[in-house]
């Protein structure tokens, strides 16, 4: 994936950087992501397709619309490949998506929406969904294996509370893990079912935060698991990543609810860790016991009790 700085993207489009930023405000396109230093980074493919569309267009709006259509075409081809059980074609569709976007956006704008579309059209008990779910989770795991090694002192322990790969939350959780890894974090993903051997698993990890991801397991099980992580690793902030939950009503203790999108959740996670490092007491109450902390973790997942 080739990225362009604002000046480079503007030069390719033969406009000023100010114009490019004005288009982002007015049309929401091109949509840059941010470098670690908060600078705009544009994908080459997105800028190139806008340049072509501008060449043939009668207005910026119509050019943006045409460039966007090119982008949604990737979702159509991926949905088509998944519903026809064509692994190779699905991989090719993702390659095409990656030519125009960052990996994060390819996952958020093509892979996950395509899987949602298959689930919606075919149902969660259908063969196409089984195929799509396995393909999607495998793709995300492979991308995670290919990600560069950790670059920041951030260790995330994830309690996976999904059922299996067919759980519609599973791909979201794998995407969240992938984004964390690509942001330079070290990830340890454990099943939120098991507490056996947890001490050893955490001994060398020095976790910065615990994330409970997924919504399949009963709250009591998840709560017990989270408490055991704290027992083994010491005071830690706990965050919940689940679909369909509203933004958090933050409590001083208990769990923080992450945004529902995998990328937004990863970004909030980084903020939370910084906030926790600056003021640990605001996030973890050392007097928490299993009996009062844990049910609260569970309750906070949805309609937080004040």
């Amino acid at each position: 994936m080739r990225f362009l700085k604002t000046s480079e993207a503007a030069a390719l489009l033969n406009v000023s950087p100010n114009t490019l930023r004005a288009w982002e405000r007015r049309f929401g396109y091109p949509k840059p992501q941010r470098s670690p230093g908060r600078h705009r980074l544009y994908t080459y493919g997105e800028i190139a397709s806008l340049r072509d569309a501008l060449h043939e267009g009668l207005s910026i709006s119509s050019a943006v619309s045409r460039a966007r259509e090119g982008l949604t075409a990737d979702t159509h081809s991926l949905v088509g490949a998944l519903t026809s059980f064509e692994l190779e074609r699905a991989d090719v569709a993702m390659e095409a998506a990656l030519a125009l976007r960052s990996l994060e956006r390819a996952v958020e704008e093509v892979l996950l929406p395509s899987m949602d579309e298959v689930a919606k059209r075919q149902g969660l008990d259908s063969a196409p969904w089984a195929f799509a779910a396995h393909w999607g989770v495998a793709w995300l795991r492979r991308a995670q294996r290919l990600a560069p090694p950790p670059t920041r002192p951030l260790s995330v322990v994830i309690g996976d509370a999904t059922r299996d790969d067919l759980d519609p939350d599973a791909a979201q959780v794998r995407a969240f893990e992938l984004f964390c890894v690509r942001a330079g974090a070290r990830i340890l993903s454990l099943s939120a079912r098991g507490i056996q051997g947890m001490g050893e698993a955490l001994a060398h990890r020095d976790p910065s935060i615990v994330v409970i991801a997924g919504n399949h397991l009963p709250d009591d099980d998840v709560a017990r698991w989270a408490y055991n992580v704290r027992l083994a690793a010491g005071p830690l902030p706990i965050a919940l990543f689940r679909r369909g939950h509203q933004p958090p009503r933050v409590r001083t203790t208990g769990a923080q609810v992450l945004p529902t999108g995998a990328l937004a959740a990863q970004q909030r996670l980084l903020e939370l860790v910084e906030e926790f490092r600056a003021a640990p007491a605001a996030y973890v109450d050392p007097r928490d016991t299993a009996s009062d902390l844990l049910p609260r973790v569970a309750r906070n997942g949805g309609q937080s009790s004040a």
Binding site: A22, R26, L54, G57, L58, S61
Partner: protein, 163 residues
């Protein structure tokens, strides 16, 4: 015997003189001409929110005029800032919509004057002359515009300037 005269009379046929009409450039958003005589980019160097288009001088919109740009399918491709205000619709929502969702011919008796569709299609094909017809906003009565319609581009399209 030859069928041809012994001395064929060859004459250089002068083509009919082509009437080159002076061209005006204008921004599809603000209506202003570009600052440079030969702009290096299609994006308006004044507002940055429109593409520079060309039309014959007599049809060019004045600065800040309400106008639309339509293709041969009568779909809206561009709207000036003034047209967006006048017709109370944002260009980003209007593009790819049929012009009749915003404007219809205002003639009480159809057929008495050229229809909006015919004139626009001819202009968008590049073979129409500048034509003026009466239009009104769709679903609105009592408000009329004179629409001056002419070819513009590139690519080929019809320019509809509202007065």
């Amino acid at each position: 015997m030859s069928e041809f005269p012994a001395r064929a009379a060859l004459r250089l046929v002068q083509p009919a003189p082509v009437e080159l009409q002076p061209i005006a450039r204008f921004c599809g958003h603000c209506g202003n001409p570009p600052t440079a005589a030969q702009p290096s980019t299609r994006v308006c160097d004044r507002c940055g929110l429109g593409l520079v288009l060309e039309t014959v001088v007599e049809a060019a919109p004045s600065r800040g005029a309400p106008f639309l740009v339509l293709d041969t399918g009568l779909m809206i491709c561009a709207m000036s800032a003034a047209a967006q205000r006048e017709l109370a619709v944002d260009e980003t929502e209007a593009v790819h919509r049929h012009v009749n969702e915003l404007l219809v011919a205002a003639d009480a008796e159809p057929g008495t004057r050229a229809s909006l569709a015919d004139v626009v299609v001819r202009a968008a094909r590049g073979d129409g002359e500048t034509t003026t017809i009466a239009v009104r906003p769709a679903h609105t009565f009592g408000v009329f515009f004179e629409a001056r319609i002419a070819p513009c581009g590139p690519p080929r399209a019809a320019l509809v300037v509202l007065h």
